[in-house]
């Protein structure tokens, strides 16, 4: 049975991919889907409950919550993909070098991984953000720069086992150079597990971004993000439940969607890996 047959049988994975695709579509067509301008302040209509005009209610400045969330999904996706992209890039390069060359290079890189893993990542991010100005670019960079360790270990492990395989020896015997062997022979065979790790990484990055924005050191108002809508919601939770409920639900669903998708891909790639 191949990948797709197994994947299609996995209902949870299909549900996950549906959520992922849905949020993708929403963020791409944000300008068309949002009923109002997300920054449009209407002080006549503050903290209005969900209604026909404002399906998810309004916030403390009378802005439409649905529109803000639709635009906020762009932030989540951007941060999720960009920071995971950074993490994967670093992880592939370091993991490939460590696994392929071994020796002291390997020891050095793996000790760097161990050191990075010693820091409680979230507090490291907090500390760094305290020095930098909180912007979406800094958030992407910092989440990416603190999230590469797992992927490095994964890639290294794959490279260590793959480099001993006979097809790699055969490539060496025909005179292929290290770069060709690493990128053309080994990496494509390691891509499957990298893809799975990336999917989980995106979920984690979205969660971290929301948390940072919730704490006020992430995406800065007035730019809408799910996290900073939640912050506003927390102050009014007794009179305007919709202000915290819907962004929370959106975060929950997205993270769930990516995790289900990741697990689905992992299980379909190799049923033996299920754990």
């Amino acid at each position: 049975m191949d990948f797709w047959t197994r994947f299609k049988k996995n209902k949870l994975a299909l549900g996950g991919s549906f959520i992922v695709v849905l949020f993708f579509v929403v963020s791409i067509f944000a300008p068309l889907l949002s009923p109002h301008d997300p920054g449009e302040i209407n002080l006549q209509n503050v903290l209005a409950p969900p209604s026909a005009d404002n399906p998810l209610g309004t916030d403390e400045l009378g802005r439409d919550v649905l529109s803000r969330m639709v635009w906020g999904s762009r932030i989540s996706l951007k941060v999720g993909f960009a920071s995971t992209g950074i993490a994967i890039l670093i992880g592939i390069v370091l993991g490939a070098v460590a696994g392929y060359y071994g020796g002291w290079v390997d020891s050095f890189i793996m000790r760097a991984v161990d050191i990075m893993l010693c820091f409680p990542t979230f507090f490291l991010i907090l500390a760094v953000i305290a020095f930098l100005e909180p912007s979406i670019w800094n958030i992407m960079a910092i989440i990416g720069l603190t999230g590469w360790m797992g992927i490095t270990r994964l890639v290294r492990a794959d490279f260590i086992s793959l480099k001993e395989r006979e097809f790699v020896q055969a490539a060496r015997a025909i005179g292929a150079g290290d770069m060709r062997i690493i990128f053309i022979h080994i990496l494509p065979n390691a891509m499957a597990s990298i893809l799975v790790a990336a999917t989980f990484g995106i979920a984690g990055a979205i969660l971290t971004e929301s948390a940072l924005s919730f704490l006020g050191i992430g995406v800065q108002p007035p730019t809408p993000s799910w996290g900073n809508i939640l912050t506003a919601g927390k102050d009014n939770i007794d009179i305007a439940w919709w202000l915290s409920f819907f962004p929370g639900l959106a975060i929950l669903l997205t993270v769930l969607g990516y995790n289900l998708l990741g697990e689905g891909i992992r299980d379909s790639l190799d049923p033996r890996l299920r754990g």
Partner: protein, 347 residues
């Protein structure tokens, strides 16, 4: 045939010569242990391969025959000794000559399931040597791949398929096509049929023979299967614990093995004629570990003819007759003195 003429081995006929080759692997016994143990995979091998011949290399698993092959093709660096290909030291070739060495010497692996990259199509696998060696690219490469596929008995319309879509025998054909893509002079066939069904084995062996005839190839044919080696080889070298114990022309070695180990090996072959009986030499014990080799002849703990000198001195590979060398104290006149380092005992 080709045998016989190399008797007075003019170096012109020698394609490859292995001199006092040793390959030791280090193995650490524990995580923090300083104690390094040496695994003597190849332990002082002298060997010549002549142009156009097939040299069979037999031995049981762990005898170092595959390691020898991998050092010859420079997938491993030797610990000691050297290998001359066309008169030049393989492991000291400058970069440009290394490129042409990679063109001239190729390898066919044992496991056709592991030796082909699962993510590349047959076309890319067979054509890769042409790209890497900058021989040709694009449409010209495709044409050569088509020709190569025809030569090894595959149909060119299969070239977009991936390895998992082929059978074991077909995959081995792909592996062979890759090996001959650069028109090599020497091919190391490392147990090329051991992973295949007997019926498919015969096809692949015939293919290898045809290719040898048509392309003037030289083979080092590594196998543990005596019948296959007997069928393929002009000369046979028998390895035991990293050393060569006997080298002779195929008919000679199979007809009348001299070294006690070779005798035991051949006595293990089942008798094909009904009614015929032959003595079975049962070897006692296992192959000793190559980690801590004992003194003397590597075979002496299991040898039924051993004498005292066998326990203390390593017998040198000594020429005993026309095209034949044996490393045994009981054979030939040379029971005294010559150490294994002796360089004269080539063949």
């Amino acid at each position: 045939m080709k045998i016989g003429a190399y008797e007075d081995s003019g170096s012109a006929r020698t394609l490859l010569s292995v001199e006092c080759l040793k390959k030791y692997f280090e193995s650490r016994s524990g995580f923090l242990s300083r104690q390094v143990r040496l695994v003597r995979a190849v332990d002082g091998v002298n060997l010549r391969v002549f142009k156009g011949e097939t040299l069979g290399l037999v031995g049981e698993s762990g005898s170092g025959k595959s390691t020898l092959g991998r050092v010859v093709i420079r997938l491993e660096e030797p610990t000691e000794g050297r290998i001359l290909f066309d008169g030049r030291d393989v492991h000291r070739l400058p970069k440009e000559d290394m490129r042409s060495f990679r063109r001239d010497v190729q390898i066919v692996f044992q496991d056709p399931y592991a030796s082909l990259n699962p993510r590349k199509s047959a076309e890319n696998i067979i054509g890769e040597p042409l790209t890497v060696q900058r021989i040709c690219d694009g449409r010209e490469r495709r044409e050569r791949v088509v020709r190569l596929m025809e030569v090894v008995g595959l149909t060119p319309d299969q070239m977009r398929r991936y390895p998992h879509e082929f059978s074991g025998g077909q995959r081995q054909r792909i592996g062979i096509a890759r090996a001959i893509a650069t028109n090599p002079k020497l091919i190391i066939a490392d147990e090329p049929v051991s992973a295949l069904d007997v019926s498919v084995q015969a096809q692949i062996l015939n293919l290898l023979k045809d290719l040898q005839r048509d392309h003037n190839l030289t083979y080092i044919f590594i196998s543990h299967d005596l019948r296959v080696v007997e069928n393929m080889s002009d000369r046979i070298a028998v390895m035991y614990l990293g050393k060569i114990v006997e080298v002779a022309e195929c008919g000679m070695l199979c007809g009348e093995p001299l070294h006690p180990y070779t005798q035991a090996l051949f006595s293990a072959l089942p008798v094909m004629k009904p009614g015929e009986r032959k003595e079975r030499i049962i070897l006692e014990g296992d192959v000793p570990s190559p980690v801590n080799p004992q003194a003397g002849c590597p075979f002496h703990p299991r040898c039924r003819y051993r004498i005292r000198v066998c326990e203390t001195q390593v017998p040198a590979l000594t020429r005993t007759g026309k095209g034949r060398s044996v490393a045994c104290h009981l054979i030939g006149n040379d029971a005294s003195g010559q150490g294994e380092e002796e360089r004269g005992a080539v063949i």
